[in-house]
Every structure is written in C-alpha cells, then in structure tokens.
C-alpha cells in the first residue's frame, strides 16, 4: 500500500514536473525576407530580433528595459526565448506556408514578422486559423488590423498615422517657414504597401487642400523607372510622396538625377529610403530627402536607452539601428512581455496577456507613449517622426519638439550635394 502511494506520488510529481521541463525554452517563429531582393533588410531585422531575445535570455541588466537581463522569462521559471527564423522570400504564399510549418512542425507558441505587409497578411491568416498569436512589429498597411482578427497584434503605427503625419509636417512647415506647397505627386510600388499608402496620401492631400497632379503606381523590381519619372516630371509637382522598397528607391533616385527631375521636396514613406543600404548606395544624392520614420539615432538625446541599445547592436553587427530594425527589436520585447505575464505558453493565455499589454513609453527604444492594443489589435500609443538626410545622416526634423536639426528646404540641385 505504501509502495503504491509512493509510486502514485512519484507519478504525480512527474506529471507536474513535465510542463515545467517543457518550458525551458519558449519557441517563437519569426518570418522575414532572408533571401530575395529585400534580403539585406531581412537580415537586419533578424539580427535585431535575435539581439532582443539574447538580451532577455542574458543577465546584463545595464540596458534598463524591464525584461533585459532577466535571464529568461521570470514567470516561466526563466525559460529562454528561442527564435526560429523562416524565410518568406518576399512571397505571400511562401510566408503562409512557412507560418504553417512553424506552427505544426516547429511547435512555436507565437509568430512574428514579416516586414512586407503583403506577407504579414497571409502569414497572420494562417496564425489566425491555428489560433496562434501573431505580433507584427514593422508592417504598416492599415488594413492588417481591420480584418477582425483575434490573434493579430501590431506594435507599429500604420500608414494612416504616418501619412497624416507627413501632411501635418507640411502644414507646420507652411506655418513656420512660409514654404509654398500646392502640387503633390504620388509615386508608389503597386503591392499592398505602396497602393495602400498612395490611396491614403491621395485622400489626405485632397482633405488638406492640395492638388494631386500625378499618382503613379509601378511594378516593383522594374528594370527601369524612366516612364514613371517622366510622368512625374511632366506633372511638375512641388512635393513627391514616394513609397518604395530598397532596390526601387535606389533606382528612382538615380533616374531622377539622370532625367534632371528636381521637385521642391521628396517626402518618402520609410521602407527602402530608411534601409541602411540606401544611403550607402546613393551617397550624396540622398541629401535632402525627407522620410517618415518611427525612430532615429539622434532621439538618444532625449532617450538615453536608444544610445545604449544601439551600442549593443553596433558591437555585434557594426551597424546602427534604423526604424525597421528598432521596431523588430521592440516587437520581440512586446511579445516576451505578454508571454511572461501570461506565465504560460498556452495560446489563449498569451492572447489574453497581449490584450492586457500596457508597456510604458520609457520601457521602449521607440519615441512612443507606450504599447496598448485596441480592440483590433493595433497599438494605440504609437507615433511617427519625420527625418531628413543631412550630410549623409538621418536627423529628426519633426515634430519640432523632438527635432535635432532644422528642415532644409527646398531640395538642393543634383550637382550641389
């Protein structure tokens, strides 16, 4: 009888121990474009996400973010985060099938990624079907959080806010510097990201009393952008608003220069223009370009944690954070925070914790008021900034309260950069 009781208690102990043992690592699937035209961006995002996970798993508390240096997730017996990366090649179908593989074969408890809005759309659909939380850090197509999904959460603000920002910026400039802007031309690549942004720009331009003199959508990865630029040139805009990924952003700037197209200002919609490779490639021709951003290194003056985090990335990969990689980093922290509060790797528990997320702004390397999701899964405390390339660096020029430099207006002539 005693032996039986002993055996039973042993069995009970084993059963109880089993989940704890299984929680030694928390597996998170992260999908990025690791090959294909956006591979260099994908690699930056991957490195930033991995840095975030390593900081949470490590014991160095110097960064000052709550989970950094926690040695794993405290409420899960210090279980370590394990990021399992997958490559979507910029292809929505591949993104969806990789999401499925991560969920069914790699047994991940949550998903992140995918940078490309078009891929985030399909991969999060798969996550929704399986009931696995999906935390997106860097896709900005507005409709992603307008699909009524229950498992999709987005930390970054979306294009509606960004586009509104760029018009507020123009209005502020008109007030403060007396610049005259009347004619706006829109250039955008014709996938989810570009078409969505272009539609919003058109809407906001009309609402703000600007004339949209051209709206040019082009297929990405074109061998030439001559017809696009000619169309812009013929429309004689004051300001060009552009949404392009890296390769097209580089080609368009070269084509502007070759065809002698010089608007008063080029206001880019992040993406390719804010990739670390962009300025390396176009060099001086990039000077004067204005872009909406979510992050800039010079914000460190107001937020010291930014400089500290950047130093860690520099030490490891010899590259600065940028808006994309800072958001990838932030998404991992936001997800880890939720899993930790859930104290469990059950999808329902993580989902519940995500809904209750309340990360204050000082716990982020972003210039945001914090992270709190609304009913659609959209972070409602995000904010954008506007940066400009000055002397080969991105500097914050708006909002004026955060600006480290004055806006240079208009664009300098091509041979005077």
């Amino acid at each position: 009888m005693i032996r039986l009781a002993r055996a039973a208690s042993l069995l009970a102990a084993l059963c109880l121990a089993a989940p704890a043992a299984a929680q030694e690592e928390v597996r998170i699937g992260v999908i990025y474009p690791l090959t294909g035209a956006a591979a260099s961006t994908g690699l930056e995002l991957k490195n930033a996400a991995q840095l975030a996970a390593d900081l949470i798993n490590g014991t160095d508390k110097s960064l000052g973010l709550a989970l950094a240096g926690a040695g794993g997730l405290p409420n899960l017996h210090h279980a370590k985060l394990k990021l399992i990366f997958a490559d979507h090649q910029g292809n929505p179908q591949v993104g969806a099938s990789e999401a499925e593989r991560l969920i069914t074969q790699e047994k991940v408890v949550a998903l992140g990624g995918c940078y490309f809005s078009s891929v985030t759309a399909t991969a999060s659909q798969t996550a929704e079907r399986y009931g696995i939380p999906f935390v997106n850090g860097e896709s900005s197509a507005p409709n992603l959080t307008q699909r009524g999904f229950k498992w999709f959460f987005r930390t970054t603000p979306h294009d509606e806010l960004f586009v509104r920002n760029s018009f507020e910026f123009l209005k502020d400039l008109e007030k403060r510097k007396g610049v005259q802007v009347k004619r706006i031309a829109i250039l955008a690549e014709n996938t989810e990201f570009g078409t969505g942004a272009a539609a919003l720009q058109e809407k906001f331009a009309r609402e703000n009393g600007y004339e949209v003199v051209a709206k040019v959508l082009y297929p990405p990865k074109s061998a030439q952008l001559t017809s696009e630029v000619q169309k812009l040139k013929a429309a004689r805009p004051d300001v060009v608003m552009q949404s392009s990924y890296l390769g097209d952003a580089i080609l368009s700037v070269k084509t502007y220069k070759d065809l002698g197209f010089l608007p008063t200002a080029l206001v880019a919609n992040d993406a390719g223009f804010n990739d670390s490779e962009f300025l390396k490639t176009v060099g001086k021709d990039g000077n004067g370009i204005i872009s909406r951003e979510v992050w800039a290194l010079d914000l460190a003056a107001q937020k010291p944690v930014i400089a500290k985090a950047n130093a860690l990335l520099q030490a490891r990969h010899h590259v600065n954070f940028n808006g994309n990689s800072a958001r990838a980093f932030t998404a991992i922290f936001a997800l880890a925070d939720a899993i930790n509060r859930a104290g469990s790797t059950k999808p329902e528990a993580i989902q519940k914790a995500l809904r209750e997320t309340n990360i204050p702004g000082d716990q982020l390397i972003m210039p945001w008021a914090g992270i709190q999701y609304d009913a659609t899964g959209q972070n409602k405390l995000g904010a954008g900034i506007i940066v400009q390339v000055q002397d080969g660096k991105y500097v914050t020029v708006w909002p004026f309260a955060l600006a480290s430099k004055d806006v240079a207006w208009p664009l300098p002539a091509w041979d005077k950069r």
Partner: protein
C-alpha cells in the same frame, strides 16, 4: 509634349539595347542547342559583381575591367557547359529545365552566401554625369551602356556571319549531325555558344553596373524581358533579338508614360502575344 515623347522614346531605345544584349546570349544558346537557360540572368549578376569587385578592391572602372569580365564570364559559361550541361544535352526537356533552374538558384545562393544580400553600387565611374541637348537629357552611363550593347551585339553578329568559327556554330545550330559529318566538333561548338552567351550577359552586367543596384537576385529584373525578346525576335536569331529589344524598350517606356506604368509589362507581354499569334516563329525567326 513632343519633346517629352522624344525623350521617352530615346530612353526606351537606350534600355532596349541593353535588354537586347542580355537576350542575344540567351537566344544564341537556345538557337545552337535547344536548351532554355534559366540561369542566364545569373550570368548578368556575375558580370555586375565582377565589375563591382574590380572597382571596390582595386579602384578599376567597370569599363576598364569589361574585357576581363567578358573573358571571365566566357570561361564560366564554357566551364558550366563542360561540367554540367554536357550531361543533359540529350536528356528530356524537363531535366534540362530543372538543371538550369537549379543552377539559377545555386548561383543566387552562392552570391548571397559569398557577398551577402546587401545592395551594392559602383560610384564615380569614368563616364558620369549627363548629356543634354535640345531640352533632352540622358545619363551618360546609360548612353555608354547602350553604345556598349550595340558594339557587343554587332560583334556577335559579325562573328556569326563572317568568320569560319561563326559559320561552324551556325552549321551546328542548323543540323548537329550534318555538321559533325563535315568535321565540326559539336562539343566545342556548344561550349563556344555557352561561353559567348555568358560573356554577352556578363558584358551587359558590366555596362549596367554603374546605373543599377547590384544584388544577388538582380538577374530576375531582366530575365523575363530577355525571354520575351528571344521568342519575339525569333528563337536563335541574334538580329531578331536586337530589334525586339529596341521595340520592347520603346513600348515599355513610352507605353508606361502614355498609359499607366503599373501596366507596362502588360503592354510588353501583349505585344509578345500578338506577334506569337500572327507570326509564331517570331519577327525574324525561320519557320
């Protein structure tokens, strides 16, 4: 308006000539041995990287290194034939497609592994700046690229038309067995075709290297158009590919300007469908 139109037409011609050079290599390989080379865009990529490294490591201008790039790519093409393609020459078409498709993925993967997926570019080249006349303006690198493409395409055409070796190549293309009976070494001719084909793409890559960003997948941006040109101009026809290149370049740029750039490839592919429908052998192909 006429001025802008003239500008777009000429811009179209400039890019079309480069398209043509990429397609010339492809059509040559196809014409001589009926193999579709899906890895052709990767020859272009290798040509671009060769120029880039010459510039980045030794400060050599892509135009100076161009002959070496051409020779290097010739060697890559001929070697690839000896090592891989030779074994599948009589294999079913599906095996050939899988082989060259596999080579495409292999080359892209290797480039990404060796040189990272970063976007590179060659700056401060010997030819820089613009040519402007009568209100028209063209980047000098584009003009040079187009001129280089004309010279190279012309050289290939001259070689095929006026040299004994070229005639032997054409003979092999026309009838492999008959050519062999006349004492022409088929293996050598095939290797030659691959060498010249790869060299053409390599030269195109070198010419593009100062205007287009360089990255492992860059071939994808050009290869679709090249396939269209091969079919449009007539399978195996160098002059056909040349004229088709100009035509497609103009249709793409002018069509995109007059209509909607989002549909520029629709215009190109419609033109292709139209030609294939009315003249299945292509513009200058032999039925």
């Amino acid at each position: 308006m006429t001025q802008i139109l003239l500008q777009t037409v000429l811009s179209g011609v400039l890019i079309g000539l480069v398209y043509a050079l990429v397609a010339v290599g492809l059509t040559l390989i196809f014409g001589v041995m009926d193999i579709v080379n899906f890895a052709h865009g990767e020859f272009l990529m290798l040509g671009m990287y060769a120029s880039f490294w010459g510039w980045a490591l030794w400060k050599l201008d892509p135009l100076f290194t161009l002959p070496f790039t051409a020779l290097g790519l010739f060697a890559v093409g001929a070697l690839l034939y000896r090592l891989v393609i030779r074994r599948i020459i009589d294999a079913p078409m599906l095996s050939q497609v899988f082989t060259t498709f596999g080579l495409m993925i292999l080359f892209r993967g290797l480039a990404q592994y060796l040189w990272s997926p970063d976007f590179r570019s060659v700056e401060h080249t010997v030819v820089d700046g613009k040519v402007a006349f009568g209100g028209l303006s063209f980047g000098l690198p584009q003009v040079t690229a187009a001129a280089g493409a004309v010279v190279t395409t012309g050289a290939v055409w001259w070689f095929l038309r006026f040299t004994r070796l070229g005639a032997a190549l054409e003979a092999t293309a026309a009838d492999r067995e008959a050519a062999a009976l006349m004492g022409i070494d088929g293996q050598k001719m095939f290797a030659l075709a691959w060498g010249i084909g790869a060299a053409c793409a390599g030269v195109a890559g070198a010419l593009l290297s100062s205007t287009y960003p360089i990255f492992p997948d860059v071939g994808a941006s050009f290869i679709l158009v090249a396939f269209v040109l091969v079919a449009l101009g007539g399978f195996g026809s160098v002059t056909g590919a040349f004229w088709a290149g100009i035509l497609v370049g103009v249709v793409e740029v002018v069509g995109g300007f007059l209509w909607d750039p989002a549909y520029k490839m629709v215009l190109v592919l419609s033109l292709y469908l139209l030609v294939v429908w009315l003249r299945p052998q292509g513009l200058l192909g032999k039925a």
